[in-house]
């Protein structure tokens, strides 16, 4: 009897914990939505800050939205150019479970665990070393470093479970490793898209990396060497203002960022579902 009772008690506790996690998510989304919705106007998403913006006068945060999108797209493209070859090398070119492949996987796990403030500080170091100023370029390079391990890990997970038979079939027809790679990439497209979306979500929400390297400005950058505003920093800076109108705009910006991230998450879910359907 006591055994059963103990089990019942812990089971109840477990269900409570599990439900409370969903509860917290709902609470966060509710807080952000209810606070942000009231201040979310068309002006905020379509205008850049006007004079007196930071004392509550007109304008919007289009500069931060565009800046975030520039940096995120740039970092993801650069990240893919590096991470796809890496994933192909450890899955197709190198021997299975070779020392190099294991080390690369381990390193990308470790790099994945490094906090973005460390990337930010390192990005700042590179920036000073090459004599750059806070700019779109420096921000993009730093965020690229941040997303490479995310991309490598996510894509590696997909490439690793592709049946070996596919590769063997290509080899038996006389195909080279490069030709095998091309076939495998086609096979893994949904997984690659999921990885891209993951990296997008992480890059657009990260503040600590761009704080040091991208700077902040009220205008939309027109070249790579200009400073760039980003959404997370727009939220952060405006929230610390004592003026209510400015704070309200921070809530609106938080709602915008949350919506972007949720859309990315759901799209990623959709593609990973598709992936598990295609599995042989």
């Amino acid at each position: 009897m006591k055994r059963k009772l103990e089990e019942q008690f812990f089971k109840l506790l477990m269900i409570l914990c599990t439900l409370s996690i969903s509860g917290v998510l709902i609470m966060i989304l509710w807080t952000i939505t209810s606070k942000g919705a009231g201040s979310l106007t068309w002006d905020i998403v379509s205008k850049i800050p006007e004079g007196g913006f930071y004392i509550g006068k007109g304008g919007g945060i289009l500069n931060a939205i565009i800046g975030s999108i520039y940096i995120t797209i740039g970092a993801t493209v650069f990240g893919l150019l590096i991470s796809i070859p890496v994933v192909l090398y450890i899955n197709v070119y190198a021997k299975k479970n070779s020392w190099l492949a294991t080390t690369t996987r381990l390193t990308s796990d470790i790099l994945f665990g490094l906090p973005s403030i460390v990337y930010g500080a390192f990005g700042f170091t590179i920036m000073i070393y090459f004599g750059l100023k806070t700019s779109l370029l420096a921000g993009t390079i730093t965020v690229t470093l941040l997303v490479i391990p995310i991309l490598v890990r996510a894509m590696d997970e997909v490439f690793r479970v592709v049946p070996e038979d596919i590769g063997n079939a290509v080899y038996s027809l006389g195909g080279t490793r490069w030709e095998t790679s091309k076939i495998l990439i086609r096979q893994c497209v949904p997984g690659i898209i999921t990885a891209i979306l993951l990296s997008f979500g992480r890059a657009i929400g990260d503040a600590a990396c761009v704080l040091f390297t991208a700077g902040y400005t009220d205008s939309i950058p027109t070249s790579l060497d200009q400073p760039t505003a980003t959404l997370p920093l727009a939220i952060f800076f405006q929230l610390s203002s004592p003026i209510e109108e400015v704070q309200n705009r921070a809530y609106a910006a938080a709602l915008i960022l949350t919506i972007i991230v949720l859309v990315i998450s759901f799209t990623a879910k959709y593609f990973s579902k598709k992936l598990s359907k295609n599995k042989i």
Partner: protein, 297 residues
């Protein structure tokens, strides 16, 4: 024709190898870069005086990290104490009890939670957790607290690391062979007894690895904690006191650091300390996890 194909294969092979090596070397580069930047302050004062002094007066060139290290440790400890039991119970439920259909409903919220950007957690913390700590908790224990406190930082951080711990624990429980569970059930143990004596026991190294990974995530979290923990550079005496963790120190002073001598170097040393601790913690726990999953030869 054949030659071209082989040449392409060779060129791609070599260039991919170079990129792979480069991506692996990045971790060394980050360490060396930060160390190089923190050299000036290390040559100026001894490491022990930097770590064990609580006097932070950049204009007098005295940089004592103790208050910041204490702040980081406090916030991390609170976060782990809150997050670990909740994540452990949730992970056991999802892996051992929950039906596949139930899992399909309960897993997505955890995924979504892990995708929410830190700054959003910060906003939520300012709006909900800070007033909650001030109005509901602190008044019972201390005379005054603004709510921007070590506890608020710990609570926000706990929610941020829960999805991470759960996802690792689920993978760890997955590596326990079903045969072991069945053997225990077949000799008359209840499911809970099986979990306690077989699953948890077998997963102990993995649970440890998950905790270490969560600690290192908590160490480095910047913006969300910075927004709710008060940022006063004193060693906190209670959980209702404000604190000032290392990452917050780096983030808050990046602007003015270039104008004061040694300041930049001191902040880079803070980043280097974070890097070293988190690098070591990550390496150890990942190796444990690789062993468990049989990925290490």
């Amino acid at each position: 024709m054949k030659n071209i194909r082989l040449t392409i294969d060779k060129i791609t092979g070599n260039s991919f190898l170079v990129l792979t090596l480069l991506s692996t070397v990045t971790v060394v580069l980050i360490g060396v870069g930060l160390y190089y930047k923190s050299l000036p302050i290390l040559q100026n004062s001894s490491l022990s005086s930097l770590l064990l002094s609580a006097e932070w007066k950049p204009f007098k060139s005295s940089f004592g990290f103790l208050a910041y290290i204490a702040g980081t440790l406090w916030v991390t400890a609170i976060a782990i104490i809150i997050a670990l039991p909740i994540s452990l119970l949730t992970a056991i439920y999802l892996s051992e009890y929950a039906h596949v259909k139930v899992k399909k409903v309960l897993l997505p919220p955890i995924d979504l939670l892990s995708g929410i950007p830190p700054v959003i957690y910060g906003v939520w913390g300012v709006l909900v957790i800070v007033p909650f700590v001030q109005e509901k908790l602190a008044i019972h224990f201390v005379e005054f607290s603004s709510g921007y406190s070590t506890l608020a930082g710990g609570i926000v951080l706990a929610i941020m690391i829960i999805p991470l711990i759960i996802s690792i624990l689920l993978e760890v429980f997955n590596t326990v062979p079903d045969g072991l569970r069945e053997a225990s059930l077949s000799v008359g143990a209840t499911q809970w007894e099986t979990i306690k004596h077989v699953v948890l026991k077998k997963s102990l190294p993995g649970i440890l690895a998950a905790v270490v990974l969560a600690v290192s995530r908590a160490f480095g979290e910047t913006i969300a904690v910075l927004m709710v923990c008060g940022n006063i550079s004193e060693i906190p005496h209670s959980i209702f006191d404000p604190c000032y963790p290392l990452p917050a120190l780096i983030a808050n002073n990046y602007g003015e650091m270039l104008s004061v001598p040694m300041y930049e170097s001191a902040l880079m040393l803070a980043a280097f300390i974070l890097f070293v601790i988190i690098f070591l913690f990550n390496t150890i726990s990942r190796i444990i996890l690789y062993r468990l999953e049989g990925r290490m030869n």
